[in-house]
Structure formats: structure tokens, C-alpha cells
Symmetry: C2
Subunit: 548 residues, 2 copies
């Protein structure tokens, strides 16, 4: 009988907000680490979310014995409700992560229907043929962990998302002792966070943000409005701490921010003295220099609180000259235009604005290159699989691995469902399992694909042009004149002549064609030529001949 192999399958993600998911399979056990979503790229028109391809997991759902979520960011747990509709397995998460997962499950009507277990970073856990241990890591959200999975083939370490911050807001360091201990035991394979493998040096500590906040809060004669991700509990803590220090009260604004703050406070991850928090309705009753506001909107999201303030559309908070606004995040690639527009609008309203280009109001939650080397050096794996990043990040991280002594043939730079198999003789590439994008659009999961997206692209560029000709089914005679329905092509009110001429072109084509009922293709061809020649635009042309 063949020796049982350990299979590691990164279903992989793209960018900082990727659909992160990794499978570990040994004998009769499949363990999933993370189940994240990705926000659509600019050319994924109309798509709401992108989730991993669950086909392999569903096919092997009898083996699925556990799902570990490393931390509470949506790119690590946001696709869980979609998976849990199709499979049944216990989910393991630390308290804050669990809280954030439950918010999502509730939105999907799945709360109480999923078996969630609370774990701590110190726990040991047996899941089928694997023994699991965890270790705390610093990240831009508290309560983040990495995972160590032991099976008979050896020990696999998955870092989650981490940095080495020796002065984090919550005082919880990345567990270097545990990492060194795992390394001493002998690690078969390390899967490590590649997000910042383009960044030389070390990621600065969260404490520099605290300093920047203090400078801004102390100098501001008016209100201070801080935007950050709703999940960035540490950053919210920094706002509260700085407000206490500078004698301001804090209003939490925006649904997701309010919910996360409430939940993190209940679970003990956020320390907010009762007398500091303020209802947004009370803001105007205090002098501006006694007020801080924390809200979302760092990515220029159109429905976020900050963007609505910048657009003068927020019901409760109007930006006034003297306000200081902090964007405590960097723009995710693809969001720069929206962020810049928000910045411009805030400046137009007379706010002083502090953002990543101007002040150290944000630090990354991910390890930079020297920290990535430290991780590899602590864990000293035999094999190395860079995960969590775009392809170039994986390549660059892989090169780092070689620089710190891992043989080139032991580094696997793989994407989207490429299996890596480990047996007693070594490691090699296995099957490619389905690992592409799955688009969620409204209630549809996976139905929007290339065809629909291609049509949306055409429509976005030049609109459509439907022309309907009614003919008598007995004698083929045309009844009335052609009807045109067009949107997104030209401004219809000023295009009467064009439409009249288009009708003439259609009638000529009809009259010239022998089989009027089948004249669709002829109409499309002549109309396409005519409209392009008149406008140099190429709307989607859809002729319909109706026989009555």
C-alpha cells in the first residue's frame, strides 16, 4: 500500500484583501485554515464579492474535520457563510475572531447553525489525524494566531498574518518562544505571510501611530475625526487612549464601527471608560476641541461615514473648517482614485487632513522583509511555501527563503489550488485542484462568469442598441416603423436624426434581404457599420424581428 501523503493546498488569494484559504489533508482528515473573501477588482463589473472555489472541499467533505480561522479580517473569514451552507464541520477561533465571524453568520441567517468552538493561542487540539497547536501573532487586529499542524509526515506551520511588534497596543507580542520551540522540534514546511515582501526593513510598531495621534490631538483646535477599518480594534483603542490623554470624548460613528466596538468591548478587547464614549447626537453640544470621532471610510467607500461627511451627505456630522481628519490606513491598490477624491473633498470643506503621505498615522499589520527573514530563521523549515500575497509577493518571498538558506528546490511558489505533496522521500507538486475566482453577485454564486462580464464591459463602454422590426408572418411585410431602445450609447434627446437614419438603414437592410424573418444578422452588420461610422462607438447591437 502506498505511503499516506500530507497534501498542502493553498487556495490562495490576491492582494492584501485576498480570498485566503489553505487546505491540509492527511489520511482521512481535511483541515481548512481560513476561508476569506476578496473584494472585486475594477474589471469585475457588478460583482459583489469573490470567494474561493470550494469544489475540492465539497468533494472531500466527509474528510473535513475542522476549520481554523486565524483572525477576524474578512479576507480570512468572510467566505465562511458560503462554505458553511455546503459543508458541516466545527469552526475554531479565538474569542474576538469568533465574535466577528458571528456578526457575519448573523447577516446570512446562519447564527446558531454553525458549530463554533472558542480556542486560545495556548490550546492543543486533536483534529482527526492532525494534532494542532496555535501561537499568538501581532497583526492589525487583536487575537490573531498562527497554526502548527502535526501529522505522521511532520510538522507544518502556518503563520496567519503577522508582524513582530515589540510594543503593540494590546501588549501581546508575537510568540517568538513558541516559534523557536517549533523550529527546535523540526518543521517540515512553513507557510508564511508574503504581503509585504516588497518592503525592505522592519514594519514600524503601532506605538509610532500613538505618538502621531497624540501630536495631532494636542495641536488640533477643533474636532479630530479618525477613520480606520471597523475591524482595526487596536487603532480604535489608540483613538480612545489619545482622547482620554487629551481630554476629549469619543463618538463612534457608522453601523459596522458601532457594532465592532460594542462587541470588542463586551469581549474585553477594547477598554473604553464609560464617561469617554459619546453619542453622535451629543457631539454638537460640546466645544469642538473636546470631541473626537472614530468612523470608517479610509478606502473612499461611497457608503462609509467619512465619505458621506466629505460629500456633505452625512446626516449627523458636517465637516467644518478647523476639523482635523485622519485617514489611518493606506489605500488598497484599486482604491486610490476614490481615496484621492475623498481627500480633495475634505480639503474643499476646509479640514486639515492627515494621511499616510503626510504623517505616520498608519503602520502596516504585516511583516516587512527583515521580519520575514526572522520568521524563517526561527522556524527553520525544511520546505517553504510563501502564501498570502499576489504572485510577485510570493516570488520575492521565495527568494528571501533562499537567501536565508532554504535550498531553491525546497521553495514552492504556487497559486490557486496547486497541491504540494509530502512523503518520506520529500516534497513534490501534486494535482492542480479548482482554485479560481468564484463571483458572488446578489443571490448568484458562480453564475456570473466570462460571458456576463464581457457583456457588462461592452455595455459599460458604449451601451446597447436594441432594434425591433415587426413583420406580417403571412407576407413578410413590415408593419409600422422599427422601434429603437438604446441606453448608454448617445444622449437620446439630441440624437433624433441619428435614430431616424438608423431606422432607414434597418428598413433598407430588411428590404434587401430575402428572408425577412431571418434578417437579424444582416441588420446587426449594417447597423454596426452605420453607427460606428457616425459615432466611432460600438454599442451592443441586438436586432429582433417579430412576426405577427
Amino acid at each position: 500500500m502506498a505511503e499516506p501523503v500530507l497534501k498542502v493546498i493553498p487556495l490562495s488569494g490576491v492582494g492584501e484583501v485576498g480570498r485566503n484559504m489553505t487546505l491540509f489533508e492527511y489520511r482521512d482528515t481535511l483541515v481548512v485554515v481560513d476561508c476569506g473573501l476578496m473584494f472585486p477588482e475594477a474589471d469585475m463589473l457588478g460583482v459583489d464579492l469573490v470567494i474561493p472555489d470550494f469544489e475540492y472541499v465539497i468533494e472531500h467533505k466527509d474528510k473535513l474535520k475542522g476549520i481554523i480561522i486565524t483572525h477576524g479580517h474578512e479576507d480570512h473569514h468572510g467566505a465562511l457563510p458560503y462554505l458553511m451552507r455546503q459543508v458541516s464541520a466545527p469552526v475554531f477561533a479565538t474569542p474576538l475572531t469568533r465574535g466577528l465571524i458571528e456578526v457575519k453568520l448573523k447577516e446570512h441567517g446562519l447564527l446558531g447553525k454553525v458549530d463554533i468552538h472558542t480556542i486560545s493561542a495556548k490550546d492543543h487540539l486533536n483534529i482527526g489525524d492532525f494534532a494542532l497547536e496555535f501561537f499568538h501573532v501581532c497583526h492589525s487586529i487583536p487575537d490573531a494566531i498562527g497554526v502548527a499542524l502535526t501529522c505522521a509526515q511532520g510538522l507544518a506551520v502556518h503563520t496567519g498574518e503577522y508582524k513582530f511588534d515589540y510594543t503593540p497596543t494590546d501588549g501581546q507580542l508575537t510568540d517568538v518562544q513558541k516559534l523557536a520551540e517549533l523550529g527546535g522540534r523540526g518543521v517540515l514546511v512553513l507557510l508564511s505571510d508574503s504581503t509585504n515582501s516588497e518592503r525592505p526593513g522592519y514594519t514600524p510598531s503601532e506605538s509610532i501611530v500613538a505618538e502621531a495621534f497624540e501630536n495631532i490631538f494636542r495641536r488640533a483646535a477643533g474636532r479630530v475625526i479618525v477613520s480606520t477599518f471597523a475591524s482595526n480594534i487596536s487603532r480604535v483603542q489608540q483613538v480612545i487612549d489619545t482622547a482620554v490623554m487629551t481630554d476629549r470624548r469619543v463618538a463612534v460613528v457608522g453601523r459596522s464601527m458601532v457594532e465592532n466596538v460594542r462587541m470588542a468591548t463586551e469581549l474585553g478587547y477594547l477598554r473604553a471608560p464609560k464617561e469617554v464614549l459619546l453619542q453622535v447626537e451629543q457631539v454638537d453640544k460640546l466645544p469642538p476641541r473636546k470631541v473626537a470621532i472614530v468612523c470608517t471610510g479610509t478606502q473612499g467607500e461611497p457608503t462609509s461615514a467619512l465619505v458621506r461627511m466629505a460629500n456633505k451627505e452625512h446626516r449627523q456630522v458636517k465637516i467644518i473648517p478647523g476639523d482635523s481628519v485622519i485617514l489611518s490606513a493606506t489605500p488598497i491598490p484599486g482604491n486610490e482614485e476614490l481615496v484621492n477624491r475623498t481627500l480633495n473633498n475634505l480639503f474643499r470643506l476646509g479640514a486639515r487632513v492627515f494621511y499616510h503621505r503626510m504623517a505616520p498615522v498608519h503602520v502596516s499589520g504585516h511583516a516587512s522583509v527583515e521580519e520575514q527573514k526572522l520568521m524563517i530563521s526561527l522556524v527553520r523549515p525544511k520546505y517553504f511555501i510563501p502564501i498570502q500575497g499576489e504572485y510577485r509577493h510570493l516570488v520575492l518571498h521565495g527568494e528571501l527563503g533562499r537567501q536565508v538558506g532554504i535550498p531553491a528546490e525546497n521553495v514552492f511558489v504556487v497559486e490557486n489550488g496547486q497541491t504540494i505533496e509530502f512523503n518520506s522521500r520529500g516534497a513534490h507538486l501534486g494535482d492542480q485542484v479548482p482554485g479560481g475566482y468564484v463571483f458572488v453577485d446578489g443571490l448568484g454564486i458562480g453564475d456570473v462568469g466570462d460571458v456576463v462580464l464581457r457583456d457588462r464591459h461592452t455595455l459599460a463602454q458604449d451601451g446597447f442598441f436594441v432594434v425591433i422590426v415587426t413583420i406580417n408572418e403571412q407576407n413578410g411585410e413590415i408593419i409600422g416603423e422599427p422601434e429603437i431602445i438604446s441606453r448608454g450609447f448617445v444622449y437620446m434627446r439630441d440624437a433624433e436624426t441619428l435614430m431616424d437614419n438608423a431606422k432607414k438603414v434597418v428598413l433598407e437592410a430588411m428590404n434587401a434581404s430575402e428572408h425577412r424573418a431571418g434578417a437579424q444578422n444582416t441588420i446587426r452588420a449594417v447597423l454596426s457599420d452605420f453607427l460606428y461610422q457616425q459615432t466611432k462607438r460600438r454599442p451592443m447591437i441586438l436586432p429582433l424581428v417579430i412576426e405577427v
Copy 2:
């Protein structure tokens, strides 16, 4: 009689690639400085180009006596063909700028129909009621100038786009003597480049790029492929110089790059020894380490040479492991996703890739904050108008002006057609003239506006759903069953049931409505509810009732 005023009107731009254009008007003379285009932002769907609003210029075309183009970038001259179809006036430009303008005019069939005059940076020129002088500035293209305009109200200085580079590729420095001399004469108003007012310190010299190129070229065992803007003649010169130094030959790839190189060589702005240049067809005949290629594609433009190479779609150049690829530019905001995708694809093909995050292979062509202060200090203007940048850049540049001693009330941060008037008593805001975006889409100039764009947005998100019901005009009876034409909404092949049910919903609505011929609104309402409930998508719904 009222004293004649000097009017300065920034028709202004947005971002590094903005539609830059400034008007200077005194008595019977209107002088235009620059006439640039802007590339559409992500939400300007289907728009090809954005040009300034020419209404004011056209209204005052009798006064228009001259158009100065400060340098050969499209955001400073690309809209000229559109203006020259509507007005007649001499255009003044330095030789290289003229060459690039003529390429554009030729594309528009206007070459020979526009009166262009070649000027040098040392020229003096009388245009109507203005006396003009020029001064050389360093920028990311050779032969760039600033403009000084004297009228009876005083001296206005327009910097064009500049940086202070003391070791530029072509050895031509920004003319600090002339700027100091103008400052000594007494300057009424300075209009200065704001692009980099978020960047502290000094912009590094082009010479650091030369060093980076030399390091990469010397170490590369294979080919070196350098992408840059086709207009960045200095960067192309650096590629050629480095190739000569490292014993490589250079192939110029891509239509616009080939044209610009030919023109710049003819005009003497590019020094390329004949034996260095290579036809792209000959590349494969040389050992890889004897070859350099220069091409476009730094912004991830889908039709550029580099992107086609990265996508394995270039006919002549296939990327192979061992190739070193340099992206010698930073992504313009909005292009990051496309650039990242290109980088990932190059890594996938095994290339070593050097880009702004990894190596000093690019420097900005614009002055950073300390240089902006130097400019203001040299020119010592009474009034200051920051130009050329997004609104936040203008605000920050305005603050710099105040820091170096210009009274706050003498700094005008204005946008898009806000007139500033100067008379002997001082300066004040005048009229707001039309200064918004004008969209070019195919042959249409200005016809695509809010209505068409809103429709394109709806279509891009969820497509459209046209339903046609034919009725008998005598008795109102429905003939046949409703026809549906839908694209971009759902994958039609798998949506038969949905379509059948939609038809039933339409028929029910028709049967329930008293006036079938006018049932369009009813159909739209019930279909909208039905489709949203079924899919949570909101396609554009267009019902048509045809009476026969």
C-alpha cells in the same frame, strides 16, 4: 472708464495627467498657456479623453492672439487639436514640443492647418498687449519651458512643470538666473506646479536613475527590457547611454516609442549612435546579454508593448527566464491594479522585475516641497496661485507659499475656471467661467454627460432587461408571448426558468392593467420587484408595448 484688469483663469487639471490650461487676458489680448487632456477616471465609463471646457476661449476668440505650449506631454498639449478646430491663433512651442504637437495634429488631419511657431527658451515675444519671455525648466521631457508675461498691470510667471535637477540627462538646468532676475524685477503673480506638494524634501536627480540602470544592465545575464513613457526622451537616452556603456544594442519597440525616438533623434534631442540601434526582428540573432529593449507599458495599458509581452501576446518579443524587466515610472493613481497585474504576469514568465518599490529606476519630473519653496523664494511674487495638481495639492502648495512669506490673503487656491482679477488696487476673485470636464467619446465631444454615464453605470453593474409585448391595437389582446432581450444580467443559458417566470409576471401585469397600451410602468414595477426578489440584482428594465 474703468481701469483695464489682468485676468488669470486656471482652467485647471486633476492629477499628474490633468487637462492643464491657463488663460491670461488683458485689454484686447487673450493668451492661452497649455491645452492638455486628461485620461478618464475609472467611473467615466467608455469615455476616451477629457478635455478642458473651451467655452470662454471660443466666446473671446477675437481676442485670442497666441497659444503657448510649455512642454510635450499630452496633459499640456493633447487637447490642442480639439481647440484648433474651433479657433484660429498662432501656437508657440520649442522644437521638441512642436514635434510632438505635430504628431498629434497629424493624427487629427490638422497638420499644416495650424500656424505653429518655433521658439527657444531665450526668446522674447510680443503678443498683443503682453510681452512674453521664457525660461528653460528641467522636467521628465527635454525642451520644457516656463513663461513670463508682462502687461501694464505687472509681471505674471507660469512655471510650466519643473524640478531643480543639477545633473539632468541633457545637461540643461532649470534657469535659476532668469528666475532670480524676474524676481528682482518684481513679480505680480506666480503660478507654480503643485504636483508633488505632498512630497517632502527634494526630488532626486535623473542621475540616480542612470546609476540604477548601470547596476541592472551590468548584472543582467540576459536581455534588459526597459519600459517608460514614449515621451520620456531623457529616459530613452539613459537606456541608450547605459547600453553603449555595457556593450548592448537597443531595439525600440512599439509604434509611439518608435515615432518619438525617430523625431527626437532628427531634432537632435536624442543621441543614438547608428550602430547601437537594432531592429526588433534582429533581437533573436544576438546573444541575450547583448540586447536591450525600450518600450511603453509602465501604466499597464492593455495595448502597450510591455503588457502584450507580459500576456504572451507580443508578436516579436517573448519574455523568457533570464530577462530583466524595468518599469521606469510610478503608477498614476487609478492604474495600480493594471500595473500590479502586469508585474505578476512578468514574474510568472520568470523575468526579474525592477520597479519603483524595489529599485531607484524612476524619479519624478516634478519639484518636491523644498524645491517648490525655492521657486517661490526666487520669484518672490506678490500673489501666488498654485496650479497643476488635484485640489489637495493646491491647498498644500498654498500653505507652503504662506510658510515662505506670502500673506494668506494673497494666495489663491482656485479650480476649474475661477477667474482672478488684478488691478492697481490689488487682486480679487472674479467670475467663474465654464471650467468643468468635457468628455470625448469617439466622434462625440461633450454629448456624453451625466445621463449617459449613469446609464452606463447601471448597465455595468447588472445589465439590462428589455421585454416586448405585442398587442392588437383594435381589441388590446396580447399576440404571442412576451419577448425578452437581456445581457449582462444573468447567464441566459442557465436562466430559462427565470425567463419563463418573468414572462408570466409580465402577462399577469398586462392582464391586470386596464390600458394595455400604457402598461409600460406597471410592467417595469412588477418586473423590477420580481427580478430583485429572485436575484438581488437590479438590471435596467425597459418594457415596450407594440400595437399592431
